[in-house]
Amino acid sequence: MREIVEAGGLPLLTPVNEAWFTSGEVAIQCCASCTTLQHPPEEVCHACGGTEFEIRVLRPRGTVVSHTVVHHAPSPALAAFVPYTIVLVSLDDAPHIRVVGNIDGPVSIGMRVAAHWEEFPTDEGPTIRLIQWHRMA
């Protein structure tokens, strides 16, 4: 699935999203004041308005809540890689948090999945580690 990421574009890192995109873990933003977990990470806690955050690491597992198989390449760079599958996964430890990724093989809503990470070294900063999904054994 690396080729899809390379064609789709790597994330631009910011202080707010860096833990999610580089830690190689399910690193969720946790408000230092009220301990609310929120994703995608934001500059302000949606629950209390706090601006200081810690990172809470959740278990890398979840359930597929939606998926699509992309057949028509959305850009010339992706033309060589269709069809590919995009999944949306609800995390076991925080079901309100849904995470996008790719997956190989047949997929269905309700399927149990586990995460792994793909590494993309960059010239200007930390290695990007992108979450991806596979069927839970």
Binding site: G8, L12, P74, S75, I109
Partner: protein, 385 residues
Amino acid sequence: MRGASAVVGVGESAYYRWGEAPDTEFQLACAAIRRAVADAGLELTDVDGLVSYMEPRNDPLRLSAALDTGPLAFTAQTFGGGGNGAGAAVTLADAAVTAGYAGCVVVFRALAQGQFGRFGVGRSETRVGGNAAFTAPYGLKTPAHVTALQTAAYMHDHGVGQDSLAEVALASYAHAQRNPRAVAYGEPLTREMYHASRWIAEPFHLYDCCRETDGAAAIVVVAADRARDCPHVPVSIVAGAHGLERRGGVAAFCDPDFPTAHYGHVAEQLWTRAGVSPRDVGVAQFYENFTGPVLMAIAEMGFCEPDGLDEFVGGGNLQWPHGGLPLNTSGGNLAEAYVHGMGNVVEAVRQNRGESTCQVEDVELSLLVSGPGYAPGSAVLFGRM
């Protein structure tokens, strides 16, 4: 303000497949606005307000100079990208006229995908920022992919079948066969063709997806008392609504109500403001970038329960002249043209004027629903004066 303003003019440019317009987007915008103002029996110097949505191209300064309008008293544009802003733009015009900030407001949208890039082609980027950083790396690059994920989850949760998606497409293509303006005029669609067409992003076949178009459309809004002097039957803006549910703006599919078309709160406001219910609506235009969000919005606007969608849309219920809720009677964004739903606005008005090519008999209330699937949503109920 219920019925305090009215639409007195409509106009559009010719519609073209993307890249085939001989005119620039700005020229298309000028042509549509000129036609709408002429249709209203007014002069361009009467125009003192310009409202649009989605993006600031064709801004009011340039337009007012090029069209030599009257002095401008009101300009505005809605937040949130896409066709979801069309109804909101109409409500801004209604608000401006009703509050007395302007006397004659043009609502318009021009879109030349040949000139400015196709919506069906994602940007080729090596690095992606903002909310797209959480989606684009996975090849989730276009609105088709966003709405496919919403639709697949919704179909699963509510037992909606593929044939219900087909019903939306079949209605639009059937209606377009009577509308010479439609890009798909002369290109009828059958259920067999729908199911045999190639996948774009499951559950969307080719015919679930809107056109990519060059074109422009506009309407003219004035106060109700002034509307009676105009040559066409004035169409009252009975009520408008705009917005989204609480926390509906959380990004990357983490909004609590996912999967939703973001129309629950819009519906609540619209029906309360208008004092009527979905049963009172004779005809509806639902912006269709893709068929799936239309189904979700039909349920969220209160026409049926989510679990009852197959039954509600089945059996040709969305098709003129025999269906109970004729939908997208010009051919809509699937089959007439994709001007970001501004064509839906024009058609909703035409139904109340009695000028549609699929005219529903005796229309009291004509509903516009803009841009389901993307927040914030908006809707307008048009009616007889």
